[in-house]
Symmetry: C2
Subunit: 138 residues, 2 copies
């Protein structure tokens, strides 16, 4: 069902399926664009976060690239300050770097996620980003 209501905010892709509650806090949606390809060693998806939604801390054994297509979001690597992300921003996440990403408090956030070198694995999920952690962002 590719209706307007089911479109991601960027209007390019369908909103997709509800993201798994075990690995996301708040409402988020995932549309798989490229299933993990054994020749390309790549998996690509579009993720829509509603305001306040974010994924758990996690790592990618083969790395990941985020391409922001709409809204305002947060990105944080373990032990580093939170980065504010806007439409058109790109983030390179090196293999095995613990991090999380999600929407800002007051704005939705949409990005394309490119998982690279998937022959090494796609994602290792870790602990939640607690409300205390999230709400401490200035």
């Amino acid at each position: 069902m590719n209706t307007k209501e089911n479109q991601a905010d960027n209007g390019i892709f369908p909103k997709g399926e509800k993201a798994p509650a075990d690995y996301f806090t708040g409402m988020a949606w995932v549309q798989l664009l490229v299933p993990n390809d054994p020749a390309l060693h790549c998996q690509v998806g579009n993720v829509v976060f509603e305001p306040g939604a974010r994924n758990n801390w996690h790592t990618h054994p083969g790395g990941q690239i985020l391409i922001v297509t709409d809204g305002i979001g947060y990105y944080q690597e373990k032990g580093k300050p939170v980065k504010l992300l806007h439409k058109g921003d790109v983030v390179n996440i090196l293999p095995d770097t613990e991090h999380w990403h999600g929407a800002s408090h007051d704005s939705g956030f949409t990005h394309i996620a490119i998982n690279t070198n998937t022959q090494k694995g796609i994602v290792v999920w870790l602990q939640r980003v607690t409300n205390e952690e999230y709400n401490s962002i200035k």
Copy 2:
């Protein structure tokens, strides 16, 4: 200069630099989003084609993924029929597959191009898509 005039049609990225005339026919623009990364083995760019513009026949030693973000375009692999592409379409291009892509006759076309497994090489440029080939598309 990130003015409206300099924005790609999808409004996400700047339009970028004029694509090299040796490898493109007609007007096209390339904005590099991720320079070739030695850990991620990936290079990502945004390409805007004006109506009628296309790249030469070429191959990618490590493969490529196209994500269409605006307009209407063409994609063709050697010996196969031309495929019509619209916003939201995704194309997986396997390593060493001879192909070309570009705008349709009457519409601009914008895609993100993800070059995968770049440790194997990024692109091998071949002959032009002639006006005869291009104008034979029904």
